[in-house]
Protein backbone atom coordinates (compact mmCIF):
# COMPACT_ATOMS: atom_id res chain seq x y z
CA UNK A 1 0.00 0.00 0.00
CA UNK A 2 1.46 3.35 -1.01
CA UNK A 3 1.90 6.28 1.38
CA UNK A 4 -0.84 8.20 -0.38
CA UNK A 5 -3.24 5.34 0.10
CA UNK A 6 -2.45 5.11 3.79
CA UNK A 7 -3.01 8.85 4.25
CA UNK A 8 -6.21 8.68 2.21
CA UNK A 9 -7.51 5.75 4.27
CA UNK A 10 -6.65 7.51 7.50
CA UNK A 11 -8.42 10.65 6.34
CA UNK A 12 -11.50 8.62 5.46
CA UNK A 13 -11.49 6.92 8.87
CA UNK A 14 -11.06 10.25 10.68
CA UNK A 15 -13.96 11.73 8.72
CA UNK A 16 -16.13 8.77 9.71
CA UNK A 17 -15.26 9.24 13.37
CA UNK A 18 -17.81 10.99 15.53
CA UNK A 19 -17.59 11.41 19.29
CA UNK A 20 -20.83 11.04 21.14
CA UNK A 21 -21.06 13.14 24.24
CA UNK A 22 -21.79 11.00 27.26
CA UNK A 23 -21.56 11.17 30.97
CA UNK A 24 -19.11 8.62 32.26
CA UNK A 25 -19.10 7.01 35.65
CA UNK A 26 -15.67 7.25 37.19
CA UNK A 27 -14.26 5.90 40.42
CA UNK A 28 -10.94 6.17 42.21
CA UNK A 29 -8.62 3.35 43.15
CA UNK A 30 -8.43 3.12 46.95
CA UNK A 31 -6.07 0.16 47.17
CA UNK A 32 -4.44 -2.41 44.88
CA UNK A 33 -3.12 -5.80 45.91
CA UNK A 34 -2.52 -9.19 44.25
CA UNK A 35 -4.58 -8.45 41.15
CA UNK A 36 -7.48 -6.91 43.07
CA UNK A 37 -8.41 -3.24 43.25
CA UNK A 38 -10.80 -1.62 45.72
CA UNK A 39 -12.48 1.27 43.97
CA UNK A 40 -14.60 4.04 45.46
CA UNK A 41 -17.38 5.73 43.51
CA UNK A 42 -18.84 3.83 40.48
CA UNK A 43 -22.26 4.07 42.10
CA UNK A 44 -24.44 2.45 39.42
CA UNK A 45 -22.07 -0.31 38.35
CA UNK A 46 -23.42 -3.78 37.54
CA UNK A 47 -21.95 -7.07 38.70
CA UNK A 48 -19.45 -8.46 36.13
CA UNK A 49 -19.33 -5.07 34.40
CA UNK A 50 -16.11 -4.24 32.61
CA UNK A 51 -14.11 -1.27 33.88
CA UNK A 52 -11.07 0.44 32.38
CA UNK A 53 -8.20 1.70 34.50
CA UNK A 54 -6.31 4.89 33.74
CA UNK A 55 -3.39 2.96 32.24
CA UNK A 56 -5.68 1.06 29.84
CA UNK A 57 -5.89 -2.24 31.73
CA UNK A 58 -9.29 -3.90 31.92
CA UNK A 59 -11.01 -5.09 35.04
CA UNK A 60 -14.25 -6.74 36.09
CA UNK A 61 -16.38 -5.55 39.01
CA UNK A 62 -17.15 -8.56 41.18
CA UNK A 63 -17.87 -7.30 44.68
CA UNK A 64 -20.40 -4.51 44.95
CA UNK A 65 -20.22 -3.20 48.49
CA UNK A 66 -21.73 -0.15 50.12
CA UNK A 67 -18.49 1.82 50.26
CA UNK A 68 -16.43 0.31 47.49
CA UNK A 69 -16.34 -1.97 44.48
CA UNK A 70 -13.99 -4.97 44.38
CA UNK A 71 -12.48 -5.25 40.91
CA UNK A 72 -10.37 -8.06 39.51
CA UNK A 73 -7.62 -6.73 37.25
CA UNK A 74 -7.23 -8.52 33.92
CA UNK A 75 -3.58 -7.86 33.22
CA UNK A 76 -0.61 -6.17 34.80
CA UNK A 77 -1.65 -4.61 38.10
CA UNK A 78 1.81 -3.29 38.98
CA UNK A 79 1.24 -0.03 37.10
CA UNK A 80 -2.10 0.74 38.74
CA UNK A 81 -1.74 3.03 41.73
CA UNK A 82 -3.89 4.55 44.45
CA UNK A 83 -5.92 7.51 43.21
CA UNK A 84 -6.06 6.35 39.56
CA UNK A 85 -9.29 6.89 37.68
CA UNK A 86 -11.43 3.85 36.88
CA UNK A 87 -14.09 4.19 34.20
CA UNK A 88 -17.21 2.06 34.08
CA UNK A 89 -18.05 0.91 30.57
CA UNK A 90 -21.67 -0.11 31.10
CA UNK A 91 -20.93 -3.39 29.34
CA UNK A 92 -20.58 -6.91 30.70
CA UNK A 93 -17.12 -8.26 29.87
CA UNK A 94 -17.07 -9.35 26.23
CA UNK A 95 -14.62 -10.79 23.76
CA UNK A 96 -14.27 -10.30 20.00
CA UNK A 97 -15.43 -13.30 17.92
CA UNK A 98 -15.27 -14.12 14.23
CA UNK A 99 -14.56 -17.01 11.88
CA UNK A 100 -10.99 -15.70 11.63
CA UNK A 101 -10.34 -16.93 15.15
CA UNK A 102 -10.05 -20.53 13.88
CA UNK A 103 -6.47 -21.76 13.92
CA UNK A 104 -5.42 -19.12 16.41
CA UNK A 105 -4.23 -19.03 20.01
CA UNK A 106 -5.85 -16.28 22.05
CA UNK A 107 -5.79 -15.23 25.67
CA UNK A 108 -8.84 -15.05 27.92
CA UNK A 109 -9.74 -11.63 26.49
CA UNK A 110 -9.66 -12.90 22.90
CA UNK A 111 -6.37 -11.12 22.15
CA UNK A 112 -4.10 -13.23 19.89
CA UNK A 113 -0.90 -14.45 21.57
CA UNK A 114 0.49 -16.57 18.73
CA UNK A 115 2.30 -13.74 16.96
CA UNK A 116 0.22 -14.14 13.80
CA UNK A 117 -1.20 -10.62 13.90
CA UNK A 118 -4.52 -9.03 14.70
CA UNK A 119 -7.73 -11.06 14.36
CA UNK A 120 -10.31 -9.07 12.41
CA UNK A 121 -13.50 -9.49 14.35
CA UNK A 122 -16.93 -8.20 13.45
CA UNK A 123 -18.81 -9.09 16.61
CA UNK A 124 -18.35 -9.29 20.34
CA UNK A 125 -19.93 -11.84 22.65
CA UNK A 126 -20.42 -11.36 26.39
CA UNK A 127 -18.48 -13.94 28.38
CA UNK A 128 -21.31 -14.42 30.88
CA UNK A 129 -24.56 -15.51 29.33
CA UNK A 130 -27.58 -17.42 30.56
CA UNK A 131 -27.57 -20.99 29.24
CA UNK A 132 -30.09 -21.84 26.47
CA UNK A 133 -33.52 -22.63 27.88
CA UNK A 134 -35.48 -25.88 27.82
CA UNK A 135 -37.60 -24.89 24.80
CA UNK A 136 -34.56 -24.37 22.58
CA UNK A 137 -32.95 -27.70 23.43
CA UNK A 138 -33.05 -31.15 21.92
CA UNK A 139 -31.94 -34.45 23.40
CA UNK A 140 -28.56 -35.85 22.49
CA UNK A 141 -28.82 -38.25 19.54
CA UNK A 142 -25.77 -37.76 17.37
CA UNK A 143 -22.41 -39.25 18.30
CA UNK A 144 -19.12 -37.48 18.86
CA UNK A 145 -16.55 -39.83 17.48
CA UNK A 146 -13.45 -39.52 19.66
CA UNK A 147 -11.48 -42.17 17.79
CA UNK A 148 -10.68 -43.84 21.11
CA UNK A 149 -12.06 -47.36 21.06
CA UNK A 150 -12.80 -47.71 24.75
CA UNK A 151 -14.73 -44.43 24.77
CA UNK A 152 -16.62 -44.82 21.51
CA UNK A 153 -17.61 -48.39 22.40
CA UNK A 154 -18.24 -48.36 26.14
CA UNK A 155 -18.60 -44.72 27.22
CA UNK A 156 -20.07 -43.12 24.07
CA UNK A 157 -20.40 -39.36 23.95
CA UNK A 158 -23.14 -37.53 22.06
CA UNK A 159 -23.19 -34.05 20.55
CA UNK A 160 -24.30 -31.65 23.28
CA UNK A 161 -23.18 -33.90 26.12
CA UNK A 162 -20.91 -32.94 29.02
CA UNK A 163 -18.48 -35.76 29.71
CA UNK A 164 -15.98 -35.34 32.52
CA UNK A 165 -12.43 -36.64 32.14
CA UNK A 166 -11.11 -37.27 35.63
CA UNK A 167 -7.91 -38.75 36.98
CA UNK A 168 -4.65 -38.15 38.80
CA UNK A 169 -1.74 -36.30 37.28
CA UNK A 170 0.04 -38.04 34.40
CA UNK A 171 -2.74 -40.47 33.59
CA UNK A 172 -3.43 -39.21 30.07
CA UNK A 173 -6.34 -36.81 30.55
CA UNK A 174 -5.07 -34.22 28.07
CA UNK A 175 -4.04 -37.02 25.69
CA UNK A 176 -7.68 -38.13 25.43
CA UNK A 177 -8.73 -34.56 24.71
CA UNK A 178 -6.08 -34.10 22.00
CA UNK A 179 -6.98 -37.42 20.39
CA UNK A 180 -10.61 -36.35 20.35
CA UNK A 181 -9.65 -33.08 18.60
CA UNK A 182 -7.42 -34.90 16.10
CA UNK A 183 -10.28 -37.24 15.25
CA UNK A 184 -12.70 -34.41 14.44
CA UNK A 185 -11.07 -33.81 11.07
CA UNK A 186 -13.79 -33.99 8.44
CA UNK A 187 -16.52 -34.53 11.04
CA UNK A 188 -18.04 -31.03 10.84
CA UNK A 189 -16.89 -30.12 14.30
CA UNK A 190 -15.20 -26.95 15.55
CA UNK A 191 -12.93 -27.50 18.55
CA UNK A 192 -12.12 -25.06 21.33
CA UNK A 193 -9.35 -26.01 23.73
CA UNK A 194 -9.28 -23.92 26.91
CA UNK A 195 -6.02 -24.16 28.77
CA UNK A 196 -6.31 -23.00 32.39
CA UNK A 197 -3.20 -22.50 34.47
CA UNK A 198 -1.12 -24.84 32.30
CA UNK A 199 2.58 -24.48 31.57
CA UNK A 200 3.26 -22.53 28.39
CA UNK A 201 5.63 -25.31 27.25
CA UNK A 202 2.78 -27.85 27.46
CA UNK A 203 0.53 -25.59 25.45
CA UNK A 204 3.20 -25.02 22.80
CA UNK A 205 3.67 -28.78 22.48
CA UNK A 206 -0.05 -29.30 22.16
CA UNK A 207 -0.37 -26.61 19.52
CA UNK A 208 2.52 -28.12 17.54
CA UNK A 209 0.84 -31.55 17.72
CA UNK A 210 -2.44 -30.16 16.46
CA UNK A 211 -0.67 -28.29 13.66
CA UNK A 212 1.11 -31.50 12.69
CA UNK A 213 -2.22 -33.27 12.40
CA UNK A 214 -3.70 -30.32 10.44
CA UNK A 215 -6.21 -29.96 13.24
CA UNK A 216 -5.64 -26.28 13.95
CA UNK A 217 -7.77 -25.44 10.87
CA UNK A 218 -10.87 -26.16 12.92
CA UNK A 219 -9.51 -25.44 16.39
CA UNK A 220 -9.20 -22.39 18.64
CA UNK A 221 -6.95 -22.41 21.69
CA UNK A 222 -7.86 -20.12 24.58
CA UNK A 223 -5.01 -19.88 27.02
CA UNK A 224 -4.67 -18.48 30.51
CA UNK A 225 -1.16 -19.58 31.40
CA UNK A 226 0.30 -20.37 34.81
CA UNK A 227 2.17 -17.05 34.78
CA UNK A 228 -0.95 -14.98 34.22
CA UNK A 229 -3.14 -13.48 36.92
CA UNK A 230 -5.77 -15.69 38.59
CA UNK A 231 -8.43 -13.42 37.09
CA UNK A 232 -7.45 -14.56 33.59
CA UNK A 233 -7.73 -18.22 34.63
CA UNK A 234 -11.13 -17.43 36.11
CA UNK A 235 -12.57 -15.93 32.92
CA UNK A 236 -10.82 -18.22 30.39
CA UNK A 237 -13.47 -21.01 30.32
CA UNK A 238 -16.26 -18.45 29.95
CA UNK A 239 -14.38 -16.80 27.10
CA UNK A 240 -13.93 -20.25 25.52
CA UNK A 241 -17.60 -21.12 25.71
CA UNK A 242 -18.51 -17.69 24.27
CA UNK A 243 -16.38 -18.51 21.23
CA UNK A 244 -18.09 -21.91 21.07
CA UNK A 245 -21.50 -20.22 21.24
CA UNK A 246 -20.56 -17.97 18.34
CA UNK A 247 -20.10 -21.06 16.17
CA UNK A 248 -23.12 -22.83 17.63
CA UNK A 249 -25.25 -19.81 16.72
CA UNK A 250 -24.27 -20.51 13.10
CA UNK A 251 -25.72 -24.00 13.49
CA UNK A 252 -22.33 -25.68 13.84
CA UNK A 253 -21.30 -28.41 16.23
CA UNK A 254 -18.56 -27.49 18.68
CA UNK A 255 -16.38 -29.56 20.99
CA UNK A 256 -14.94 -27.64 23.94
CA UNK A 257 -12.30 -28.90 26.32
CA UNK A 258 -11.65 -27.25 29.69
CA UNK A 259 -8.18 -28.29 30.79
CA UNK A 260 -8.60 -28.18 33.74
CA UNK A 261 -11.44 -27.08 36.00
CA UNK A 262 -9.55 -27.94 39.22
CA UNK A 263 -7.13 -25.12 38.45
CA UNK A 264 -10.10 -22.94 37.53
CA UNK A 265 -11.65 -23.56 40.95
CA UNK A 266 -8.30 -22.81 42.61
CA UNK A 267 -8.04 -19.50 40.69
CA UNK A 268 -11.57 -18.59 41.75
CA UNK A 269 -10.77 -19.50 45.35
CA UNK A 270 -7.75 -17.19 45.23
CA UNK A 271 -9.84 -14.32 43.87
CA UNK A 272 -12.65 -14.92 46.36
CA UNK A 273 -10.31 -15.00 49.34
CA UNK A 274 -8.62 -11.79 48.18
CA UNK A 275 -12.05 -10.20 47.84
CA UNK A 276 -12.68 -11.25 51.45
CA UNK A 277 -15.59 -13.51 50.58
CA UNK A 278 -16.25 -16.05 53.34
CA UNK A 279 -14.43 -19.37 52.76
CA UNK A 280 -16.32 -22.64 52.95
CA UNK A 281 -15.26 -26.27 52.52
CA UNK A 282 -11.58 -26.61 51.49
CA UNK A 283 -11.55 -22.76 51.61
CA UNK A 284 -13.58 -22.57 48.38
CA UNK A 285 -16.29 -19.91 48.38
CA UNK A 286 -19.95 -20.86 48.69
CA UNK A 287 -20.71 -20.34 45.01
CA UNK A 288 -18.07 -22.69 43.61
CA UNK A 289 -20.76 -25.14 42.50
CA UNK A 290 -22.55 -22.40 40.58
CA UNK A 291 -19.20 -21.39 39.08
CA UNK A 292 -19.02 -24.71 37.22
CA UNK A 293 -22.72 -25.44 36.79
CA UNK A 294 -23.39 -22.20 34.94
CA UNK A 295 -20.39 -22.86 32.73
CA UNK A 296 -21.27 -26.45 31.86
CA UNK A 297 -24.96 -25.70 31.45
CA UNK A 298 -24.01 -23.67 28.38
CA UNK A 299 -23.08 -26.93 26.65
CA UNK A 300 -26.23 -28.12 24.89
CA UNK A 301 -27.81 -29.31 21.68
CA UNK A 302 -30.20 -26.80 20.11
CA UNK A 303 -33.18 -27.96 18.14
CA UNK A 304 -33.61 -27.14 14.45
CA UNK A 305 -36.20 -24.45 15.15
CA UNK A 306 -33.59 -22.49 17.06
CA UNK A 307 -30.85 -22.94 14.49
CA UNK A 308 -29.46 -26.33 15.48
CA UNK A 309 -25.84 -26.63 16.50
CA UNK A 310 -24.38 -28.04 19.67
CA UNK A 311 -21.66 -27.61 22.23
CA UNK A 312 -20.14 -30.80 23.61
CA UNK A 313 -18.02 -30.21 26.69
CA UNK A 314 -15.10 -32.26 27.95
CA UNK A 315 -14.22 -30.74 31.31
CA UNK A 316 -11.09 -32.17 32.89
CA UNK A 317 -10.56 -32.57 36.64
CA UNK A 318 -7.27 -33.54 38.23
CA UNK A 319 -7.64 -35.59 41.41
CA UNK A 320 -5.09 -35.95 44.20
CA UNK A 321 -4.12 -39.59 44.86
CA UNK A 322 -7.30 -40.81 43.22
CA UNK A 323 -9.56 -39.02 45.69
CA UNK A 324 -12.75 -38.49 43.75
CA UNK A 325 -14.71 -37.63 46.88
CA UNK A 326 -13.00 -34.26 47.22
CA UNK A 327 -15.14 -31.14 46.89
CA UNK A 328 -14.53 -30.08 43.28
CA UNK A 329 -14.53 -33.61 41.73
CA UNK A 330 -17.87 -34.48 43.38
CA UNK A 331 -19.35 -31.17 42.26
CA UNK A 332 -18.33 -31.61 38.64
CA UNK A 333 -19.29 -35.30 38.59
CA UNK A 334 -22.79 -34.33 39.66
CA UNK A 335 -23.03 -31.57 37.04
CA UNK A 336 -21.85 -33.58 34.05
CA UNK A 337 -23.61 -36.33 32.06
CA UNK A 338 -20.98 -38.93 32.79
CA UNK A 339 -17.32 -39.37 33.52
CA UNK A 340 -14.26 -41.09 32.12
CA UNK A 341 -12.11 -42.33 35.00
CA UNK A 342 -8.39 -42.64 34.42
CA UNK A 343 -6.28 -44.61 36.89
CA UNK A 344 -2.58 -44.47 37.64
CA UNK A 345 -2.42 -48.25 38.30
CA UNK A 346 -3.85 -49.08 34.89
CA UNK A 347 -1.52 -46.56 33.27
CA UNK A 348 1.55 -48.22 34.74
CA UNK A 349 0.21 -51.68 33.90
CA UNK A 350 0.42 -50.57 30.30
CA UNK A 351 -3.33 -50.28 29.79
CA UNK A 352 -3.47 -47.01 27.89
CA UNK A 353 -5.78 -45.10 27.68
CA UNK A 354 -5.94 -45.92 31.41
CA UNK A 355 -9.72 -45.85 31.50
CA UNK A 356 -11.36 -47.68 34.37
CA UNK A 357 -14.31 -49.12 32.49
CA UNK A 358 -16.16 -50.12 35.65
CA UNK A 359 -16.33 -46.65 37.17
CA UNK A 360 -16.67 -44.73 33.91
CA UNK A 361 -20.15 -43.98 32.70
CA UNK A 362 -21.97 -42.05 30.02
CA UNK A 363 -25.49 -41.16 31.09
CA UNK A 364 -26.89 -39.96 27.79
CA UNK A 365 -24.38 -41.04 25.15
CA UNK A 366 -25.76 -44.52 24.43
CA UNK A 367 -28.72 -43.03 22.57
CA UNK A 368 -26.25 -41.26 20.30
CA UNK A 369 -24.25 -44.40 19.50
CA UNK A 370 -24.59 -45.77 15.97
CA UNK A 371 -26.53 -49.02 15.71
CA UNK A 372 -23.57 -51.10 14.56
CA UNK A 373 -21.42 -49.94 17.45
CA UNK A 374 -24.25 -50.53 19.92
CA UNK A 375 -24.54 -54.09 18.66
CA UNK A 376 -20.86 -54.95 19.17
CA UNK A 377 -20.33 -52.85 22.31
CA UNK A 378 -23.24 -54.41 24.20
CA UNK A 379 -21.53 -57.80 24.30
CA UNK A 380 -18.14 -56.18 24.95
CA UNK A 381 -19.40 -54.47 28.12
CA UNK A 382 -20.67 -57.83 29.37
CA UNK A 383 -17.40 -59.60 28.48
CA UNK A 384 -15.37 -57.00 30.37
CA UNK A 385 -17.65 -57.02 33.41
CA UNK A 386 -17.41 -60.83 33.66
CA UNK A 387 -13.65 -60.65 33.12
CA UNK A 388 -13.20 -58.16 35.98
CA UNK A 389 -15.21 -60.38 38.29
CA UNK A 390 -13.36 -63.55 37.38
CA UNK A 391 -9.90 -62.00 37.21
CA UNK A 392 -9.64 -61.47 40.96
CA UNK A 393 -11.26 -64.81 41.68
CA UNK A 394 -8.97 -66.76 39.35
CA UNK A 395 -5.86 -65.65 41.24
CA UNK A 396 -6.77 -67.98 44.10
CA UNK A 397 -6.73 -71.25 42.23
CA UNK A 398 -5.80 -72.86 38.97
CA UNK A 399 -8.67 -75.36 38.69
CA UNK A 400 -11.07 -73.47 36.53
CA UNK A 401 -13.74 -74.89 34.30
CA UNK A 402 -13.63 -74.40 30.56
CA UNK A 403 -16.34 -71.72 30.46
CA UNK A 404 -14.51 -69.61 33.05
CA UNK A 405 -11.21 -70.07 31.23
CA UNK A 406 -12.88 -68.98 27.99
CA UNK A 407 -14.28 -65.88 29.63
CA UNK A 408 -10.89 -65.02 31.10
CA UNK A 409 -9.17 -65.43 27.76
CA UNK A 410 -11.84 -63.31 26.02
CA UNK A 411 -11.43 -60.63 28.67
CA UNK A 412 -7.66 -60.52 28.23
CA UNK A 413 -8.12 -60.05 24.50
CA UNK A 414 -10.75 -57.36 25.03
CA UNK A 415 -8.38 -55.40 27.28
CA UNK A 416 -5.68 -55.78 24.63
CA UNK A 417 -7.96 -54.61 21.83
CA UNK A 418 -8.99 -51.54 23.81
CA UNK A 419 -5.37 -50.47 24.28
CA UNK A 420 -4.46 -47.70 21.92
CA UNK A 421 -1.44 -45.57 21.15
CA UNK A 422 -1.53 -41.82 21.69
CA UNK A 423 -2.29 -39.61 18.66
CA UNK A 424 -3.67 -42.63 16.81
CA UNK A 425 -7.43 -42.24 16.68
CA UNK A 426 -9.30 -45.10 15.02
CA UNK A 427 -12.15 -44.58 12.56
CA UNK A 428 -15.58 -45.77 13.71
CA UNK A 429 -15.91 -48.37 10.93
CA UNK A 430 -12.51 -49.84 11.83
CA UNK A 431 -13.56 -49.97 15.48
CA UNK A 432 -16.73 -51.85 14.51
CA UNK A 433 -14.79 -54.44 12.49
CA UNK A 434 -12.22 -55.00 15.27
CA UNK A 435 -14.83 -55.26 17.99
CA UNK A 436 -16.99 -57.51 15.82
CA UNK A 437 -14.07 -59.91 15.43
CA UNK A 438 -13.48 -59.80 19.17
CA UNK A 439 -17.03 -60.31 20.45
CA UNK A 440 -17.84 -62.99 17.87
CA UNK A 441 -14.88 -64.98 19.15
CA UNK A 442 -12.65 -64.73 16.07
CA UNK A 443 -9.77 -63.54 18.24
CA UNK A 444 -10.12 -66.24 20.92
CA UNK A 445 -7.41 -68.43 19.43
CA UNK A 446 -5.03 -65.59 18.61
CA UNK A 447 -2.36 -65.20 21.28
CA UNK A 448 -2.67 -62.07 23.44
CA UNK A 449 0.76 -60.81 22.34
CA UNK A 450 -0.31 -60.91 18.71
CA UNK A 451 -3.69 -59.20 19.14
CA UNK A 452 -2.44 -55.75 18.06
CA UNK A 453 -0.78 -57.19 14.99
CA UNK A 454 -3.93 -59.16 14.18
CA UNK A 455 -6.10 -56.07 14.61
CA UNK A 456 -4.03 -53.94 12.26
CA UNK A 457 -3.79 -56.73 9.71
CA UNK A 458 -7.53 -57.33 9.84
CA UNK A 459 -8.29 -53.63 9.31
CA UNK A 460 -5.99 -53.44 6.28
CA UNK A 461 -7.29 -56.70 4.81
CA UNK A 462 -10.99 -56.02 5.39
CA UNK A 463 -10.80 -52.47 4.06
CA UNK A 464 -9.77 -53.84 0.71
CA UNK A 465 -12.07 -56.85 0.70
CA UNK A 466 -15.19 -55.91 2.69
CA UNK A 467 -16.00 -52.66 0.95
CA UNK A 468 -19.77 -53.21 1.14
CA UNK A 469 -19.62 -53.70 4.89
CA UNK A 470 -17.63 -50.49 5.35
CA UNK A 471 -19.98 -48.56 3.05
CA UNK A 472 -23.02 -49.73 4.99
CA UNK A 473 -21.47 -48.70 8.32
CA UNK A 474 -20.57 -45.29 6.94
CA UNK A 475 -23.94 -44.62 5.25
CA UNK A 476 -26.61 -46.65 7.03
CA UNK A 477 -24.70 -46.96 10.34
CA UNK A 478 -25.56 -50.69 10.41
CA UNK A 479 -24.65 -53.79 8.48
CA UNK A 480 -27.01 -56.10 6.57
CA UNK A 481 -27.06 -59.86 6.94
CA UNK A 482 -25.43 -60.22 3.55
CA UNK A 483 -22.48 -57.97 4.31
CA UNK A 484 -22.12 -59.58 7.74
CA UNK A 485 -21.69 -62.95 6.09
CA UNK A 486 -19.15 -61.41 3.75
CA UNK A 487 -17.23 -59.92 6.70
CA UNK A 488 -17.24 -63.25 8.55
CA UNK A 489 -15.82 -64.91 5.46
CA UNK A 490 -13.14 -62.27 5.15
CA UNK A 491 -12.14 -62.55 8.81
CA UNK A 492 -11.78 -66.32 8.43
CA UNK A 493 -9.77 -65.83 5.25
CA UNK A 494 -7.50 -63.34 6.98
CA UNK A 495 -7.10 -65.58 10.02
CA UNK A 496 -5.97 -68.50 7.87
CA UNK A 497 -3.24 -66.35 6.35
CA UNK A 498 -2.26 -64.83 9.74
CA UNK A 499 0.63 -66.61 11.39
Amino acid sequence: MSNNNIVENLRKEINNFSLKLKIEKVGKVMEVFDGIAKVSGLSDIKSSEMVIFQNGENGVALNLEEDAVGVIILGDFSKIKEGDDVKATGRILEIPVSDNILGRVVNALGVPIDGKGVIKADKTYPIEKVAPGVITRQSVDQPVSTGIKVIDAIIPVGRGQRELIIGDRQTGKTAIAIDAILNQKGQNMICVYVSIGQKDSKLRKLQARLEQGNSMDYTVIVSAGASEAAAMSYIAPYAGVSIAEYFMDQGKDVLIIYDDLSKHAVAYREISLLLRRPPGREAYPGDVFYLHSRLLERACRRNEKYGGGSITAFPIIETQAGDISAYIPTNVISITDGQIFLETDLFYKGIRPAVNVGSSVSRVGSSAQIKAMKKVAGTLKLDLAQFRELEAFSQFGSDLDDATKRQLERGKRAVEVLKQLQYAPVKTEHQVVTLYALVKGFMDDVSVEKIKEFEQGLIDYSENNAKTFYKEIRDAKMWTEKSEEQLKKIIIEFKSSFE
Binding site: F17, I23, E24, E65, D67, A121, T124
Partner: protein, 136 residues
Protein backbone atom coordinates in the same frame (compact mmCIF):
# COMPACT_ATOMS: atom_id res chain seq x y z
CA UNK B 1 -22.51 -10.37 61.34
CA UNK B 2 -23.52 -6.81 60.53
CA UNK B 3 -20.69 -4.69 59.25
CA UNK B 4 -20.84 -1.00 60.13
CA UNK B 5 -19.47 0.93 57.19
CA UNK B 6 -17.76 4.31 57.17
CA UNK B 7 -20.91 5.62 55.56
CA UNK B 8 -22.98 4.45 58.53
CA UNK B 9 -20.65 6.21 60.96
CA UNK B 10 -20.73 9.41 58.91
CA UNK B 11 -24.52 9.31 58.80
CA UNK B 12 -24.64 8.74 62.58
CA UNK B 13 -22.42 11.78 63.16
CA UNK B 14 -24.64 13.82 60.87
CA UNK B 15 -27.81 12.73 62.67
CA UNK B 16 -26.23 13.44 66.08
CA UNK B 17 -25.34 16.94 64.96
CA UNK B 18 -28.85 17.46 63.59
CA UNK B 19 -30.42 16.77 66.97
CA UNK B 20 -29.04 20.13 68.12
CA UNK B 21 -30.81 21.98 65.32
CA UNK B 22 -27.72 22.16 63.14
CA UNK B 23 -25.69 23.91 65.76
CA UNK B 24 -22.70 21.70 66.39
CA UNK B 25 -22.63 20.70 70.01
CA UNK B 26 -19.24 21.58 71.53
CA UNK B 27 -18.98 18.11 73.02
CA UNK B 28 -19.72 16.25 69.74
CA UNK B 29 -16.26 16.36 68.07
CA UNK B 30 -14.65 15.10 71.25
CA UNK B 31 -17.19 12.28 71.52
CA UNK B 32 -16.69 11.28 67.90
CA UNK B 33 -12.89 11.17 68.27
CA UNK B 34 -13.28 9.16 71.47
CA UNK B 35 -15.57 6.69 69.71
CA UNK B 36 -13.19 6.31 66.75
CA UNK B 37 -10.25 5.80 69.11
CA UNK B 38 -12.08 3.18 71.15
CA UNK B 39 -13.19 1.27 68.08
CA UNK B 40 -9.73 1.61 66.49
CA UNK B 41 -11.19 3.49 63.56
CA UNK B 42 -9.00 6.59 63.66
CA UNK B 43 -7.27 5.53 60.43
CA UNK B 44 -10.67 5.69 58.71
CA UNK B 45 -11.25 9.27 59.85
CA UNK B 46 -10.36 10.94 56.49
CA UNK B 47 -12.80 8.66 54.63
CA UNK B 48 -15.51 9.20 57.25
CA UNK B 49 -15.08 12.98 56.99
CA UNK B 50 -15.29 12.80 53.20
CA UNK B 51 -18.52 10.84 53.46
CA UNK B 52 -19.86 13.24 56.09
CA UNK B 53 -19.16 16.08 53.70
CA UNK B 54 -21.07 14.25 50.94
CA UNK B 55 -24.04 13.57 53.24
CA UNK B 56 -24.21 17.21 54.32
CA UNK B 57 -24.03 18.35 50.68
CA UNK B 58 -26.71 15.88 49.68
CA UNK B 59 -29.05 16.93 52.50
CA UNK B 60 -28.60 20.60 51.71
CA UNK B 61 -29.02 20.08 47.97
CA UNK B 62 -25.51 21.32 47.32
CA UNK B 63 -23.12 19.85 44.79
CA UNK B 64 -19.40 20.41 44.40
CA UNK B 65 -18.29 20.61 40.79
CA UNK B 66 -14.68 20.23 39.73
CA UNK B 67 -13.95 21.94 36.47
CA UNK B 68 -10.65 21.31 34.74
CA UNK B 69 -9.76 23.58 31.82
CA UNK B 70 -6.73 25.00 30.06
CA UNK B 71 -7.63 28.65 30.71
CA UNK B 72 -9.91 30.22 33.29
CA UNK B 73 -13.59 29.87 32.40
CA UNK B 74 -15.54 32.94 31.40
CA UNK B 75 -18.32 34.05 33.77
CA UNK B 76 -21.00 33.64 31.13
CA UNK B 77 -20.01 30.07 30.40
CA UNK B 78 -19.89 29.36 34.10
CA UNK B 79 -23.43 30.70 34.61
CA UNK B 80 -24.72 28.61 31.73
CA UNK B 81 -23.02 25.54 33.14
CA UNK B 82 -24.47 26.29 36.59
CA UNK B 83 -27.98 26.46 35.17
CA UNK B 84 -27.47 23.15 33.35
CA UNK B 85 -26.07 21.39 36.40
CA UNK B 86 -28.76 22.70 38.73
CA UNK B 87 -31.38 21.25 36.41
CA UNK B 88 -29.63 17.95 35.87
CA UNK B 89 -28.86 17.22 39.53
CA UNK B 90 -31.90 19.07 40.99
CA UNK B 91 -29.45 21.02 43.16
CA UNK B 92 -30.15 24.17 45.12
CA UNK B 93 -26.60 25.36 45.33
CA UNK B 94 -23.51 24.73 43.24
CA UNK B 95 -19.96 25.37 44.30
CA UNK B 96 -17.26 25.33 41.65
CA UNK B 97 -13.77 24.12 42.21
CA UNK B 98 -11.61 25.16 39.28
CA UNK B 99 -8.36 23.52 38.19
CA UNK B 100 -6.14 24.68 35.34
CA UNK B 101 -4.42 21.92 33.40
CA UNK B 102 -2.67 22.54 30.07
CA UNK B 103 -2.52 18.79 29.39
CA UNK B 104 -6.17 18.92 28.34
CA UNK B 105 -5.02 20.80 25.19
CA UNK B 106 -8.44 22.48 24.95
CA UNK B 107 -12.06 22.20 26.13
CA UNK B 108 -13.22 21.42 29.66
CA UNK B 109 -13.76 18.48 31.95
CA UNK B 110 -16.60 18.59 34.47
CA UNK B 111 -16.65 16.25 37.48
CA UNK B 112 -19.68 15.86 39.74
CA UNK B 113 -19.54 13.13 42.40
CA UNK B 114 -18.56 10.01 40.42
CA UNK B 115 -19.68 11.35 37.04
CA UNK B 116 -17.46 12.95 34.45
CA UNK B 117 -18.36 14.90 31.35
CA UNK B 118 -15.12 15.06 29.44
CA UNK B 119 -15.23 17.64 26.66
CA UNK B 120 -11.46 18.05 26.45
CA UNK B 121 -9.42 17.79 23.26
CA UNK B 122 -7.18 15.23 24.99
CA UNK B 123 -10.15 12.92 25.50
CA UNK B 124 -11.23 13.40 21.89
CA UNK B 125 -7.75 12.52 20.64
CA UNK B 126 -7.54 9.41 22.82
CA UNK B 127 -10.98 8.29 21.62
CA UNK B 128 -9.87 8.82 18.03
CA UNK B 129 -6.73 6.80 18.71
CA UNK B 130 -8.88 4.01 20.15
CA UNK B 131 -11.12 4.15 17.07
CA UNK B 132 -8.23 4.01 14.61
CA UNK B 133 -6.39 1.17 16.32
CA UNK B 134 -9.45 -0.93 17.12
CA UNK B 135 -9.39 -4.56 16.06
CA UNK B 136 -13.17 -4.84 16.20
Amino acid sequence: MTVISNNDIARAIYLASKENNDALSPALPGRVVNFLFKKRLLSCAPDILLRLDKIINQEKGRIVVRITSVTKMQDRAKTELEQFLKKRYSAKEISFFEILDTRLVGGIKVEVNDEIIDLSIRNKISKLQEYLTRSV
